[in-house]
């Protein structure tokens, strides 16, 4: 995949006034256009500061950030922010305005005409699953946490920004709803192809969401930038190794889908009693199925049809992990 750089950090550092150590240390990083980037690390590692420097909520102490060829310090901060979507953990919907009005915030600032705003708001609220007919006239206090953050995402997308900054957006949401929101964001991203910077301290979330992951350590240094598979297969430092934790092999299996592997043809006579698995399943699910059923192989079927596509064995899974730097599930999607 071609990766034209959209945002470029060039020797960017930030030390807060009065602080003895840097909040972000000499960072150089090129963010490719249209990819989902997760910034991950422990508290105080500079991931949030890094993100907030992109829309100038925080100004770097030194270095430059270049957006599509233009140094952002030369762009008026307010107009820069209106071009960049922003979603935060606290959601921050305006409690005195209706849901409709909240989503319309940036288009109104940009002076869109009323009809265009109304259509856009309806489109977005439908897109995030908070239909305008039912929720448009309610106030934020009348929504659940999950619904509020869906509206938060719709508000950030309202003026169709190319870049979306998300600061632990699902951090305060219950685990079941969080998984739903993660899946829906990934679904949206497959259609939108925004450039997303997504801050999280949860490595599993970072792996699940990111096409590329930037790992920061406690010294506020970027220690590794790569695909989830790269990072799991070859952690750059001992810190990354410890941060990604145990079970990296199992993690890597979650990143790939059965349909991405070359399958062996099913034998003519068929494989009696072998369990069946749809091609959209992850390798992790395939392994689980093999272990659970004590079968020697699985029959892989097309989604929504019993038609066998081929068979998969334990050795195929092992081979898949040995081939480093193969495309990830996200790339193939």
């Amino acid at each position: 995949m071609t990766s034209e750089t959209l945002i470029s950090f060039r020797g960017v550092a930030k030390t807060y006034p009065g602080a003895t150590r840097a909040a972000v240390r000499e960072l150089s990083l090129d963010i490719p256009r249209g990819r989902f980037i997760t910034l991950v690390g422990p508290s105080g590692c500079g991931k949030t500061t890094t993100m907030k420097m992109v829309n100038r909520l925080i100004e770097p102490t030194s270095g430059r950030i270049v957006l599509a060829g233009q140094d952002i310090s030369t762009i008026d901060a307010t107009s820069l922010r209106r071009r960049i979507g922003y979603v935060i953990q606290q959601v921050g919907l305006f409690p005195h305005q209706t849901i409709e009005r909240n989503v319309a915030a940036v288009p109104r600032l940009l002076g869109w005409d009323k009809a265009r705003i109304r259509d856009r708001v309806a489109e977005l609220l439908d897109l995030v699953g908070v239909p305008v007919d039912e929720f448009g006239h309610r106030y934020p206090a009348q929504l659940s946490g999950g619904q509020a953050q869906r509206v938060g995402v719709a508000r950030a997308l309202a003026a169709n920004p190319e870049i979306l900054l998300m600061d632990e957006p699902f951090g305060a949401i219950d685990p079941i709803t969080r998984v739903e929101l993660q899946d829906e964001l990934l679904r949206l991203q497959r259609e939108m192809h925004k450039t997303i910077l997504f801050v999280t301290h949860d490595i599993d979330e970072a792996m699940k969401m990111g096409d590329l992951i930037a790992v920061f350590d406690q010294t506020a240094t970027l220690v590794q930038f790569g695909t989830p598979d790269d990072i799991l297969a070859s952690p750059a430092t001992e810190f990354v190794q410890r941060f990604i934790g145990e079970g990296t092999g199992l993690h890597r299996l979650k990143l790939r889908r059965v349909r991405d592997l070359p399958l062996r043809a099913a034998p003519e006579q068929g494989v009696p009693d072998a369990p069946r698995l749809p091609a959209t399943a992850t390798l992790h699910q395939a392994l689980d199925c093999l272990v659970r059923t004590s079968a020697d192989c699985l029959i892989v079927t097309e989604q929504d049809s019993p038609q066998p596509m081929g068979v998969l064995t334990f050795a195929d899974l092992q081979r898949a992990l040995r081939e480093a730097k193969t495309p990830t599930a996200e790339d193939a999607a």
Binding site: N55, L57, T78, S79, L80, R81, R82, Y86, I88, Q89, Q90, V91, G92, L93, F94, P95, H96, T98, A105, V106, L109, Y139, A141, Q142, G152, R155, A156, L165
Partner: protein, 213 residues
Amino acid sequence: MSFWGFLIDRWDDFLVLGLEHLAVVGTSLALASILGVGLSMLVYNRSVPRALALAIVSVIFTIPSFALLVLFISPLGLGPVNVIAALTLYGMLPIMQNAVVGLRGADPGVLEAARGLGLTRMQQFWKVRVPLAWPVMLTGLRVAALMLIGIATLGYTVLGPGYGEFVFTGLYRVGTPVALNLVLAGLLGVLLVGLLSELLFTLLRRLTTPRSS
């Protein structure tokens, strides 16, 4: 004469004094709101000016109202202007205290979102911070109104308008049959004005703040 008979007999006076009472309190409340809220907006985010401003209005608040009215006789003379000046100063404390708390108490997450979405500083203040502080400010105005309705009665000592006239005339004629009726009529009037004020503020709150659930 019974109290009700007295009231019917003096009904015209009762109405006129009521309107006067409303006018003097309304004017003072409006002035105190403009000054108090305006000053709060200037000082809410600066610790030294904020502490200083609140200290000054608190000290003023501790001056006995009777003394303040008498003190204002030499610059402002007798009559409504004197009373309005005193009431305005008394109204400042509850109004400023609430306005400062409201402005400072705005949800940081909402303010951060406003900044991140690209609202200018002015827009962040007028479109987010002030509306968020509004319910708390309104409570300050409501408390101030009740307080001023009570204090305004004392205004009659410097020949100010309102129900003070009934109360103080009653006081001067203690021992005569009409004294009790006069005082009761004054109290009833003040009570009614207070109820009206509560009603208006409840209505205003309903109309200007979204239901929370």
